[in-house]
C-alpha cells in the first residue's frame, strides 16, 4: 500500500455498501475522487477525508483512506485541527450546502480566510437531502419544500461569492454530470496550496430533481453555461458566438457579429486577478440573464496557514532553542529555600 505509484481507483474503495439513493449525483463525485487519488502521487495512508452530516457527508465511509464522519457543519474546523497538527497529510473536506453554508457557515468562511491547506468539496443540491427535503441556503427564492410550503422567501447564497467574500485563494465550480470537467477541476484543487474550494452542482433525484437541468440538459447547456479558461475571452454558446462584455462595471451578454461586437470586446478571464473583482462578478451570473460559469473562478498564490504556523515554530526554536522542561520550569523569578 505504501507505493503510491501502484495505486488504482480500486484501492480507494471500501467494503461498505454505498448508501445513497439510486441515481443520486453523489455517486459520480465519489467515482471521480476515487479516480483522482491514485494520480496525485501521495501514499494512500496520507489522505484523510473529513465530513459533517448530510447525504454527501457519508463520503468518507466509501474512501479507503483515513477519515471522519463528524458532526453537522464542523468538518472544516476538525479538518483545520488535523491539518495544523499534521501538515504533511492531504486533508479533504466533503460537505453539503446545508452542512457548509447553514450550520457550518462560520467555519467555512474562516477556512477560506485562513488559507489553510484543505480541499473543500461542496456537493450543492440546493436542498437538505438527509432530513428529507427542507430548503437550504442555496435553494432558489420561491422554492416549495417541506418547510416552505408557500415557497421560500430566503435569498440564496452564491457559495462562490461567499468564498470570495471571505478571501478564498482558490474557488471553482463544476457539475456532477460532466465527469471530464469535474476531473480537471478536482485536480487543480488538489494541486493548490492553501484552501481550495470547489462547488459541485449535484442532483438530488429525490427531493430536488432537475435543479440543474438548465445547464446540464444537452439541448441547451451550451447556451447556458460559460466554461472558464484562464487567459481566454468569456465565450460561450453552441456556435461559440456569445460572450460577456463589460459595460461600466456591469456584465452584459452579447453576440459576436451583432452590433459590431467582436471577440476583442469581450472580457478575458483572469483567475489570478489580485483584487478578485472579475471572479466576484462571475459569481453573480445566473440563468436566464447570464450563463452559469463553470471552472476556476480564482486562483492566487498566498502562503498557506500551516506553512506560516511551521514558520512560527521554526522561528521560536531558532531564537530560543528547542524547548526544555527544566529551564521552562525555572524561568521567571525563582527563590530557593534550603
Amino acid at each position: 500500500m505504501n507505493a503510491a505509484a501502484a495505486l488504482t481507483k480500486k484501492d480507494f474503495e471500501t467494503d461498505q455498501d454505498v448508501r445513497w439513493c439510486p441515481g443520486c449525483g453523489d455517486y459520480a463525485v465519489l467515482a471521480q475522487v476515487q479516480k483522482l487519488m491514485p494520480t496525485l502521487g501521495i501514499p494512500r495512508e496520507n489522505f484523510a477525508f473529513i465530513s459533517g452530516i448530510g447525504c454527501s457527508s457519508r463520503f468518507p465511509y466509501y474512501m479507503e483512506t483515513y477519515g471522519m464522519h463528524s458532526i453537522h457543519g464542523r468538518a472544516p474546523a476538525i479538518a483545520s485541527g488535523l491539518k495544523l497538527a499534521r501538515p504533511e497529510l492531504s486533508v479533504w473536506v466533503v460537505t453539503g450546502d446545508g452542512d457548509a453554508l447553514a450550520i457550518g457557515g462560520n467555519h467555512f468562511i474562516h477556512a477560506m480566510r485562513r488559507n489553510i491547506g484543505l480541499k473543500i468539496l461542496l456537493l450543492n443540491n440546493r436542498i437538505y437531502g438527509l432530513t428529507k427535503g427542507q430548503y437550504s441556503p442555496t435553494s432558489l427564492l420561491g422554492m416549495k419544500t417541506k418547510s416552505t410550503p408557500q415557497g421560500s422567501i430566503d435569498r440564496p447564497f452564491s457559495p462562490v461569492a461567499v468564498a470570495l467574500g471571505a478571501g478564498a485563494t482558490f474557488v471553482a465550480r463544476t457539475v456532477d454530470s460532466d465527469l471530464a470537467h469535474m476531473a480537471g477541476v478536482l485536480k487543480r484543487a488538489a494541486e493548490h496550496q492553501g484552501t481550495a474550494f470547489v462547488e459541485i452542482y449535484q442532483n438530488c433525484i429525490v427531493f430536488n430533481d432537475g435543479a440543474y437541468d438548465a445547464i446540464t440538459d444537452k439541448s441547451m447547456r451550451d447556451d447556458t453555461r460559460l466554461m472558464l479558461e484562464h487567459g481566454k475571452p468569456l465565450l460561450y454558446g453552441k456556435e461559440r458566438n456569445k460572450g460577456i462584455r463589460l459595460r461600466g462595471m456591469e456584465p452584459e451578454a452579447v453576440t459576436l457579429g451583432e452590433n459590431g461586437v467582436t471577440e476583442s470586446d469581450l472580457l478575458v478571464h483572469d483567475e489570478a486577478a489580485e483584487h478578485g473583482g472579475l471572479a466576484f462578478l462571475l459569481s453573480q451570473f445566473d440563468v436566464p440573464t447570464l450563463p452559469v460559469p463553470l471552472g476556476v473562478f480564482r486562483e492566487v498564490g498566498a502562503p498557506s496557514y500551516e506553512e506560516m504556523n511551521n514558520g512560527l515554530q521554526a522561528d521560536a526554536r531558532e531564537r530560543r532553542g528547542q524547548g526544555d522542561l527544566a529551564s521552562l520550569f525555572n524561568s521567571g523569578d525563582t527563590w530557593t529555600i534550603v
Binding site: T14, A85, R86, G323, L325, D333
Partner: protein
C-alpha cells in the same frame, strides 16, 4: 492610633533612631485602587518580594469586568489581596489586616471587609471633593470620624510621588502612574523587605523605557524612605520565614500552572500538544501562556469560536497529537455537542473549564464552581466522560498531567475543572525536577495485522492510530458503531453493548484512582467533603476547629467522575457529612444520588471564595449539635 489620623505632610528627612519591629505570624494585605492605578502590578510585585523572603503566601486578584472603567467610580475598583505567613498558607485570608486604598471609591467598596481594628493606609491626596462625590461620599470619611474602628494612616501618596518626581521630566500623567510604586515601597519598608532586589526588577521590567524605570525606582525609594523617615508608623513588622520544604520555588497562577502541566505532558510523552481555543475570561491566560511556548512541540490555534476550538482539537487528536481546548462556562455550553462526538470517537482530548460566575454571561470575572453537573451530565444521550478538578494554583499543574494520563490511557475526552479564583491567584510552586515527574506512555498502533478500529484492551480502551500509518486506514464518526469494526451499526443489541461499554470504561477508571486521603480521624462525627478551590478555606477552617479540640475529617476530591472507589465506605464512617460548595449543592446531589446518604450543604454563590470563618462557624455549629438537616448558605 485610633480614629482618623491627623493629616501629615512630611518631607523625606531621615530619622535616626531605629524603630521597633513587631513579629507577626501572618498578615493579610489588600491593595485597592482604580483599574488604572496598577494595583495588580503592585500586588504581584509585593508577593514576589514576600516569596523571596521565604514566606508561604496565597493571593486573590479581584478586578472589574470593565477594561478600564472611568477613574474614581465604584465599579472601576480593582483589588489584590495577599496573605503571607510563617506557616503554610492556604487562602488569601478572610479579612485584610491592612487595606491600602488609593482613592475614596476603593475605600468605600472594601471597607466592610477589613478586620475590625485593622489598618487603613489611605492615599489622602486622592480624597478630593470630586472623587469623594464620584464614590458617593457625602463627607470625607478620613475626616468625619466614621473610621473610628480602624487605625488610619493618611498619606498623600499622589502628592508625595509628584514631589519625588518633580525633576524627572515626566508628564503629569506619567508621574501619576508611578504612585503604585510609591505604595509598594511603603509596604516593603513597613514589612521589612529589602529594596535592592526590587529596584533591579523595576529596571528590568521597564528596560525599554529607561526614563520611566528611573522614575519608578525613585517613587519606590520615596515610599520606602517615607516609612523610615516619618514618625507615622511606630513599629515595622516582620513575619518570620515559613518552615517551607526545601527546594526552588516560583510564584505561579493556576492558569500558568495548567499551561505548564500540559507542556510537561507533551514532553514526557513525546507527543506534541495542540490547543484549539477561543478567548474567554478567566481562561484566556492558558492560551496566552501556551502561545508563547512555540519552541516546544506546541501549536496554539485561536479558533473562530468555541465549537471550532474543540473541533480543531478533535481533529488534532485524530491526527495523533494531544488535543485540548480551554474555556469557561458559556463556552463550555457551546462545546457539548462536539464533546459527544469525542466520546463516540474515543480519542484522547482534554477540556479545561476555568469556571466563573453563572448562569449565562453571569459574573465573568468572579469565582464560582457551578459547572460540575454540566460537566458530568451536560450532553445528549448516554455520554459519560471522566471529570477531575484542581484545588489550588499549583495543583493545576498536576491535574493537567493527570487529565492527559487518563485521556490517553482510556482513549477518552477528560474535563478538567478549575476556576477563576485558582486560575488568577498565585502561590509558591516548588519547581519539580522533570525527571521526577510521572511517566506518560503513549503507544500508537502501527501493526495492521488483525486491526479492528474499536477492539479494546483491558482498560476497554481502543487503540490510537496516527493517520499516515500504512494499512491502518479507517473511518470514525458520530453514528453508533459496531463493537469491533467501528462501522456504522444500527443493530439494537450492538447499541446496548456500546452504550454499556462506554459507561463501563469510564466507571473503570475508578480502579486507577489512588486511595482517598482523609485528613483527620478515619471515622467519627464530622467529615467535610470538598472539591476544587474551596480547598484552602476548608483546610484552614478544619485546622482551627482541630486546634480547639474538635475531631473533624476532610476529604478533598480530585476525581469527580468516576468517584474514587473507596469514597462510599469513607462517607459511611461519619455521622455527618458537610459539603461546602460555591454553588447550590452540585457535589451534594452527586453524593446523595451515588451513596444514598444525606449531607449537610453549605452553599455560597456570591462570586467570592468562602471565608475560613464561614466554614469554621458551620463546623462548630455541627460539632455543637445544631440540627444537621438545616442545610444553609452563608451571609444571606
Amino acid at each position: 492610633m485610633s480614629g482618623a489620623a491627623a493629616a501629615v505632610d512630611v518631607g523625606l528627612e531621615r530619622r535616626t533612631a531605629p524603630r521597633p519591629v513587631e513579629e507577626l505570624d501572618s498578615v493579610v494585605i489588600r491593595f485597592v485602587g482604580d483599574s488604572g492605578d496598577g494595583m495588580q502590578l503592585t500586588g504581584n510585585e509585593f508577593s514576589r518580594a514576600i516569596a523571596k523572603a521565604g514566606h508561604d503566601f496565597a493571593t486573590h486578584p479581584d478586578y472589574p469586568s470593565e477594561i478600564r472603567a472611568p477613574t474614581g467610580t465604584l465599579f472601576g475598583v480593582s483589588g489584590y489581596q495577599i496573605q503571607f505567613a510563617s506557616r503554610q498558607v492556604f487562602t488569601s485570608g478572610d479579612a485584610p489586616d491592612v487595606l491600602v486604598a488609593m482613592n475614596p471609591a476603593a475605600l468605600k467598596t472594601n471597607l466592610s471587609d477589613v478586620k475590625n481594628g485593622g489598618t487603613i493606609i489611605a492615599n489622602s491626596g486622592a480624597f478630593t471633593d470630586n472623587s469623594l462625590a464620584k464614590a458617593g461620599y457625602a463627607a470625607n470619611p478620613l475626616k468625619d470620624g466614621s473610621l473610628g474602628n480602624y487605625r488610619v494612616y493618611e498619606i498623600d501618596i499622589s502628592g508625595l510621588t509628584a514631589l519625588a518626581l518633580k525633576d524627572s521630566g515626566l508628564s503629569k500623567k506619567d508621574v501619576g502612574r508611578c504612585k503604585n510604586y510609591y505604595a509598594l515601597g511603603l509596604m516593603l519598608s513597613l514589612y521589612s523587605r529589602p529594596l535592592d532586589k526590587e529596584e533591579g526588577d523595576v529596571r528590568k521590567k521597564f528596560a525599554k523605557k529607561p526614563q520611566l524605570a528611573e522614575a519608578n525606582v525613585l517613587a519606590l525609594r520615596a515610599g520606602y524612605a517615607y516609612v523610615e523617615a516619618t514618625e507615622m508608623f511606630i513599629t515595622s513588622y516582620r513575619v518570620r520565614a515559613a518552615d517551607i520544604r526545601a527546594g526552588t520555588y516560583r510564584s505561579l497562577t493556576g492558569n500558568h500552572a495548567t499551561a505548564l502541566g500540559f507542556v510537561a505532558a507533551s514532553e514526557l510523552s513525546g507527543v506534541p500538544l495542540f490547543l484549539g481555543s477561543y478567548p474567554i475570561t478567566p481562561a484566556t491566560d492558558i492560551l496566552h501562556e501556551l502561545a508563547a511556548l512555540k519552541h516546544f512541540n506546541v501549536t496554539t490555534f485561536q479558533a473562530e469560536d468555541e465549537i471550532a476550538g474543540i473541533c480543531s482539537a478533535i481533529g488534532a487528536s485524530y491526527g495523533g497529537v494531544l488535543g485540548m481546548t480551554t474555556t469557561s462556562g458559556p463556552g463550555m455550553a457551546l462545546k457539548t455537542e462536539a464533546l459527544g462526538l469525542a466520546v463516540m470517537l474515543e480519542l484522547p482530548l482534554v477540556i479545561v473549564n476555568v469556571q466563573r460566575g453563572g448562569p449565562s454571561t453571569g459574573l465573568p470575572t468572579k469565582i464560582e464552581q457551578s459547572d460540575l453537573l454540566q460537566a458530568i451530565y451536560g450532553r445528549n444521550g448516554e455520554c459519560p466522560l471522566p471529570v477531575i478538578a484542581a484545588n489550588s494554583p499549583s495543583d493545576c499543574f498536576d491535574c493537567a498531567m493527570e487529565a492527559f494520563r487518563i485521556a490517553v490511557k482510556y482513549m477518552t475526552p477528560v474535563i478538567l475543572l478549575t476556576d477563576g479564583g485558582i486560575g488568577n491567584a498565585a502561590e509558591p510552586w516548588r519547581i519539580p525536577d522533570p525527571a521526577s515527574l510521572p511517566k506518560l506512555e503513549v503507544k500508537f498502533r502501527t501493526d495492521p495485522e488483525g486491526y479492528q478500529a474499536y477492539a479494546r484492551d483491558a482498560n476497554l480502551a481502543r487503540s490510537w492510530v496516527r493517520p499516515g500509518t500504512p494499512g491502518l486506514e479507517h473511518r470514525v464518526g458520530g453514528l453508533e458503531k459496531d463493537f469491533l469494526t467501528g462501522n456504522i451499526s444500527q443493530d439494537p443489541l450492538n447499541h446496548q453493548r456500546m452504550v454499556d461499554v462506554r459507561a463501563a470504561k469510564v466507571a473503570g477508571i475508578a480502579r486507577d484512582i489512588p486511595p482517598t486521603r482523609v485528613e483527620g480521624p478515619a471515622q467519627g462525627d464530622l467529615l467535610i467533603v470538598g472539591w476544587g478551590s474551596t480547598y484552602g478555606s476548608i483546610v484552614q477552617a478544619r485546622e482551627q476547629a482541630v486546634a480547639e479540640g474538635h475531631a473533624v475529617a476532610h476529604v478533598h476530591l480530585r476525581h469527580l467522575n468516576p468517584f474514587p472507589s473507596d469514597l462510599g465506605d469513607i462517607l459511611k464512617r461519619y455521622k455527618t457529612v458537610l459539603v461546602p460548595e460555591m454553588n447550590l449543592g452540585q457535589l451534594s446531589r452527586l453524593l446523595r444520588e451515588r451513596y444514598l446518604i444525606d449531607v449537610v450543604q453549605l452553599n455560597k454563590v456570591q462570586g467570592k471564595p468562602f471565608k475560613v470563618s464561614e466554614i469554621y462557624d458551620r463546623i462548630i455549629e455541627l460539632c455543637n449539635g445544631v440540627p444537621k438537616g438545616v442545610s444553609k448558605g452563608v451571609s444571606k
